[in-house]
């Protein structure tokens, strides 16, 4: 009990310190302004008045916002977080911080929590700002879509954070960590449709295998879930999404799309913490 409370206390203090350091970084402000500015630009250019295949008004804006998030967020989370543990190790910050009565797990999960908050809150505020502004300007606010997208964003950020912290904990240098993260991101992007289609056509794999491969990829899951409610004809999504939604029900897929990345992120986080606390920390 005492140990749990202590870990909790270490976690809060490290999280608090890490949030403060993040708020001072240029990365954070660039990222926040980018997302906030993006919503403002979409409103000012009249995207809510345009219509593409069933998406109109705020729905159209939110779908576009999510498409941009899918491109930017994973690589942003990976690149900014992957240096977290290994960077502290290389700069001797960790040597000093862990000479204090701070538990290994408190340190690791404290940094994890801080990164989650500083990544999620700006995008959530941007999305919420769009909804509030839309409501203020008499647009219909699709609150069900807002809730789904908020959950999907949290889930995806958590997933990539877990992966990133794992890479950071097991890497011996920042360069190696960044390279690994970048290659992983490229692979996930490539597996969205291109490689899956290639496997399907060239190797004549059955659709079930292709669906399975697609559903392992958190980016694919996110992408499919973003469009699942509002594209009943499945016309704007890629081939993999088409196969997935042709196979499973929408309700089941939404649950999966939120739960799976969280479980994946938690698993990677757990393994990352395990490596971190059982190996030499410097």
């Amino acid at each position: 009990m005492q140990r749990t409370l202590f870990t909790h206390s270490s976690l809060i203090q490290i999280m608090n310190a890490d949030i403060r350091q993040n708020l001072r970084s240029k990365w954070f402000w660039t990222y926040s302004i980018l997302f906030g500015g993006f919503v403002a630009v979409m409103f000012s250019t009249g995207i809510t008045e345009s219509q593409i295949i069933g998406f109109v008004g705020l729905s159209r804006l939110m779908v576009t916002f999510m498409q941009v998030s899918m491109v930017i967020l994973p690589i942003y989370v990976l690149i900014t977080t992957v240096r977290s543990v290994v960077g502290d190790r290389e700069s001797n910050v960790m040597e000093y911080m862990l000479s204090l009565p701070v538990s290994f797990s408190g340190y690791f999960w404290g940094k994890f929590s801080a990164k989650f908050l500083v990544t999620y809150i700006p995008v959530f505020i941007a999305l919420l700002g769009a909804a509030v502004y839309g409501n203020f300007t008499k647009l219909d606010v699709p609150w069900d879509l807002f809730a789904l997208y908020s959950a999907l964003l949290a889930s995806m950020i958590f997933c990539f954070l877990g992966i990133s912290m794992f890479i950071s904990a097991v890497s011996h240098s920042q360069d190696l960590a960044i390279s690994t993260a970048f290659i992983l991101w490229l692979l996930l992007v490539a597996f969205l449709d291109l490689i899956l289609m290639g496997l399907l056509l060239k190797l004549r794999l059955d659709a079930g295998t292709v669906i399975g491969l697609g559903m392992i990829n958190p980016l694919q899951v996110f992408r499919t879930a973003v469009l699942v409610l509002f594209d009943p004809e499945l016309t704007v999504m890629g081939a993999a999404s088409y196969f997935i939604l042709d196979t499973v029900s929408r309700g089941w897929f939404i649950t999966f799309a939120i739960a799976y990345p969280i479980i994946l992120g938690a698993l990677f986080g757990w393994f990352g913490n395990y490596f971190f606390k059982t190996r030499d920390i410097i």
């Binding site: 001072r24 911080m97 000479s99 204090l100 009565p101 701070v102 030499d280 920390i281």
Partner: protein, 222 residues
């Protein structure tokens, strides 16, 4: 964790640590007593910093290392609550001085006034630098602040890894005076290249070379 004077606070038996194929500490056995002030000397690569990191629980190792009878890897909280540490190189922490002080207050449960008191004696007026990020302070200022954090806490072990490396002569003198007057029941381990500087402060000298103790001598001048 109550220790009587002259009981080993740190007990090391056949401690070995290697990195890949390089043996950095080689079957080292030694006891450190609660009232000792130890000069840990040796050339670069002798194993001084590695030994300190093992005591801090930052490295896995072979052999036995007990601090207050506890394992430094498994019982971090209990042990590190009682250790003040000053590193060789101040880390580039991005928190402001004010934020760092509050962080220390909460983590070590020590009042900020204790840190400010020591830093003032070392010639660093914390209040004038509260809003500066720690990493933007000069090397000497950073070191003074870290020394204040270590000495401001009432701990049972002080681990000082080249603590005077970035200090001006006046601050060095004050630091050594502070260390001399520090609580008598505290075990102090000072890693240094300059024995002449600390010879009046210590009552035991341990010289390391290639991961082994090559000299262990009790002094009677303090």
């Amino acid at each position: 964790m109550t220790q009587q004077l002259n009981n080993p606070i740190i007990k090391i038996e056949k401690l070995s640590k290697s990195f890949k194929r390089q043996q950095v500490i080689d079957a080292l056995s030694v006891d450190f007593l609660s009232d000792q002030r130890i000069a840990l000397i040796g050339q670069n690569g002798a194993g001084k910093t590695t030994l300190i990191r093992c005591i801090l629980g930052q490295y896995n190792f072979e052999g036995k290392l007990d601090v207050f009878g506890l394992n430094p890897r498994k019982d971090r909280r209990e042990i590190l609550q009682q250790i003040g540490f000053v590193p060789q190189t101040p880390p580039p922490i991005k928190l402001t001085v004010n934020e760092l002080i509050h962080f220390f207050e909460r983590i070590t449960k020590t009042d900020a006034a204790a840190f400010k008191n020591i830093s003032s004696k070392l010639g660093l007026e914390i209040d004038q630098n509260l809003h500066k990020p720690f990493y933007k302070l000069s090397g000497g200022m950073k070191q003074k602040l870290l020394i204040s954090f270590a000495l401001g806490r009432q701990v049972k072990i002080l681990l000082l890894d080249e603590p005077s490396a970035n200090l001006d002569p006046q601050a060095r003198e004050i630091l050594f005076a502070q260390l001399k007057n520090y609580s008598k029941g505290t075990l102090m381990i000072l890693s240094s290249h300059r024995m002449d500087e600390i010879k009046d402060l210590v009552n035991r000298v341990i010289e390391m070379d290639l991961g082994k103790i090559v000299l262990d001598k009790l002094l009677t001048n303090t």
